[in-house]
């Protein structure tokens, strides 16, 4: 056997919820890599596995689909890859069609469609243990004969049937026969015919469950109940946010402290000067200010993946669809918007679950309006400095109310902007809402963990590249040119950022911003909360919002109207270069980050202007 013959590539194709990714994880373990397909923002998940005959097999986990007729960019990748039409990526040698053994009807139709592609194919009946437990009797030999493909049974989460699957891969890889593709996008009549064929095969070889799953129905009676279900969804969301904010705090403090001491170390051991400033203030502080969100992102994704694997996310989309529909958003936009409360970056990345391009763009464009956690330090600082700690209406804290108001403004802003965008840019009807409600399943801890680790990896890679580059740019603007010898004001005052701040100040004067506030906005473009550090630098006091020094300085220096205008600005302003960089990546165009920047800065200016003039002369 030549060495070339010992290499093979196979692709996992199947319906969503077929346990395809669990099978991928079981096969490849930690030998997997996530990247983006070139030119599109679809994740390419590839891994390697050694077959019993010693073949090095590359496994591709392709996006789930019901048909090769692609409806979303994800599904287009599946189609193009399977057909060998994907630039820079050869067609797989073998297709493994992964099926949920308890739910064969739709996947049999997909299998018939995949057969037309002409590649050697294996049907993997996954979750076979559940099918057995339910008493579904599948005549495996008969089914294999009827479909004309070998069949293996697998239980991915228990790593059962993997050897059998890989032996089948060995057998097919030895032959390496691929017929020319006969696939064409099927017409409605062809889909109907394929359904009839699948139905025929199903009737002959599969006997329905003796003990069908009744849990899904019983759970749905509660979880999809119009009132109880909605209340449960809200409770889940509430608990999720509690966890995101309270569990993450100790870890975030740890990361913060870690970066702070790393910065100190550099400050102590490197001579004062450019290099020290670059490493301590530019790199360490800059990267630290983004990495500090890692715990929140991980906790958020832990919940999202857990709920997804359990089968709940489709229910959440069902419950939220009508509400989101008012704003012209799709039920699925719910997940990205939810993620954006931690950070808009994972939110924008998870907008990939939305099939329709316009729906996805609308969701991406409004995601940064939801209150991300980077705004919290800014809100807390300004609120503690300016809003008296007073009880109103007998029970509510005024400070808490202002905080709530800022969140509410962000959410309603997002929904209103989505509504307007749909009408302004895309005066068209909405994408159909048509989703499968999968049977509930106990999530597999290893798969959840692997999913969370993958998110971490993606976030870290992004933080390591795009975001670091932005941080260095901002540091450069805030540090050059250096203050002249014997200068009196803070060094930032003499930098490009300072010059820019002074230059822009007349523009921001109508909304009540002093030059110090304007200057702070520029480093604040790196990450929203960096503005606090910058204000600290500008006023040459401790940047720590906790010890109250900065807060009391601000409360003496800023009129109330300016402080409130600053808050209003922060609700809407595109104060985050990383978000814009991610939008550029996800949309593969400069148009959308520019549109986002333009509309957000306009809204921020208007909101700050209104607030400033409303509160001028008001004393709390």
């Amino acid at each position: 056997m030549s060495s070339e013959a010992l290499v093979t590539r196979f692709a996992l194709v199947g319906n969503p919820n077929s346990g395809k990714t669990a099978l991928f994880n079981a096969l490849t373990g930690s030998r997997q890599k996530v990247a983006n397909y070139p030119g599109v923002t679809v994740e390419r998940k590839a891994g390697t596995v050694l077959t019993p005959l010693g073949r090095h097999a590359v496994v591709l986990d392709l996006p789930g689909t019901y048909s090769l007729r692609a409806r979303s960019p994800d599904e287009a990748v599946t189609r193009d890859l399977v057909l060998g039409q994907f630039a820079g990526e050869a067609a797989p040698d073998i297709i493994v069609c992964v099926a949920d053994a308890t739910n064969l009807r739709l996947v049999l139709r997909l299998a018939l469609e995949l057969k037309q592609v002409g590649r050697p194919m294996i049907l993997a009946l996954n979750m076979y243990d559940i099918a057995e437990r339910q008493g579904i009797r599948i005549d495996l030999d008969g089914l294999a004969r009827a479909l004309g493909v070998p069949i293996v049974t697998t239980v991915a989460v228990r790593k059962r049937g993997l050897d059998a699957l890989l032996r089948e891969i060995d057998t097919l890889a030895a032959d390496k026969i691929a017929a020319p593709s006969q696939w064409n996008a099927p017409t409605a009549a062809e889909i109907r015919q394929a359904h009839r064929n699948a139905e025929q095969i199903l009737k002959q070889h599969v006997k329905p469950a003796l003990r069908p799953d009744t849990w899904t129905g019983r759970l749905d009676n509660v979880l999809l109940h119009p009132v109880a279900g909605t209340a449960i969804l809200l409770t889940i969301l509430f608990l999720m946010f509690q966890a995101v904010f309270s569990w993450a705090t100790p870890l975030m403090d740890l990361i913060d402290a870690g970066f702070a001491s790393a910065g100190e170390l550099v400050t102590n051991y490197l001579p004062a000067g450019l290099l020290q400033s670059f490493i301590a203030d530019g790199l360490i502080a800059g990267v630290g200010s983004v990495l500090v969100f890692l715990p929140q992102i991980l906790i958020l994704f832990f919940f999202i993946i857990l709920l997804e694997d359990f089968g709940y996310m489709a229910r959440a989309a069902f419950l939220m669809d009508r509400l989101m529909g008012f704003a012209g958003l799709h039920g699925r936009a719910f997940i990205p918007l939810l993620s954006s409360f931690a950070c808009a970056i994972p939110g924008i990345m998870s907008a990939r679950v939305i099939d329709n391009k316009r729906d996805r763009l609308t969701t991406i464009l409004v995601a940064p309006l939801t209150t991300c956690s980077a705004r919290i330090p800014v809100y807390t600082l300004i609120i503690s400095a300016f809003i008296p700690n007073r009880v109103v209406w007998g029970f509510a804290s005024l400070q808490g109310l202002v905080m709530f108001g800022l969140y509410a403004t962000g959410i309603s802003g997002a929904l209103i902007v989505a509504f307007i965008l749909r009408r302004l840019l895309w005066r068209s009807a909405t994408e159909p809402f048509l989703i499968e409600l999968p049977a509930y399943k106990m999530p597999d801890p290893m798969n959840v963990l692997r999913g969370v680790m993958m998110r971490a990896q993606i976030f870290l890679r992004r933080a390591g590249t795009t975001i670091t580059a932005m941080m260095v740019l901002i540091w450069f603007l805030s540090s050059f040119p250096a203050a002249p010898a014997g200068a009196e004001g803070p060094a930032i005052d003499y930098s490009f950022a300072g010059v820019l701040g002074h230059f822009l100040q007349p523009l921001l004067a109508p909304i009540g911003f002093s030059w110090q506030m304007t200057v702070a906005l520029i480093p604040g473009l790196a990450a929203r909360e960096v503005a606090i550090g910058a204000l600290g630098t500008v006023y040459a006091v401790s940047g720590d919002a906790g010890d109250g020094t900065l807060a009391s300085t601000l409360s003496h220096q800023w009129p109330l109207a300016s402080a409130l205008a600053f808050l209003a600005w922060y609700v809407f302003a595109p104060q985050c270069m990383s978000t814009l960089a991610v939008v550029r990546r996800e949309t593969n165009s400069w148009t959308w980050p520019v549109v986002m920047f333009a509309y957000m800065i306009t809204l921020a200016y208007l909101a700050a202007f209104i607030v400033y003039h409303l509160f001028s002369g008001v004393v709390l």
Binding site: L106, I191, L224, T230, F318, G325, P432, L437
Partner: protein
């Protein structure tokens, strides 16, 4: 009768897919809507039961169709002709 006319607890058989002309607001066009509904199992002869309805305007609706569960908006359900079982 159309699927969109039914409420929770109603059962029946799918009779045909026929996006109606006058409601022509489906972004994807009638032919594409028909194919997508077919791909999700809304095929002639399939039996169904309306399981759940949303809070606002009883929309969307969740159905058992053959042995799977699917959710869709009433707007799309309008395209589905059904024969209710009494």
């Amino acid at each position: 009768m159309r699927l969109s006319d039914l409420t929770k607890g109603d059962r029946g058989t799918i009779h045909g897919i026929e996006p109606s002309g006058h409601d022509g607001l489906h972004e994807i066009g009638h032919a594409e809507l028909e194919r997508r509904l077919l791909e999700m199992g809304f095929v002639e002869g399939a039996s169904f039961e309306v399981l759940h309805e949303g809070l606002i305007g009883r929309d969307p609706m969740a159905l058992q169709i053959d042995d799977m569960r699917v959710a869709l908006r009433r707007k799309e359900a309008q395209a589905i002709l059904v024969e209710p079982h009494r």
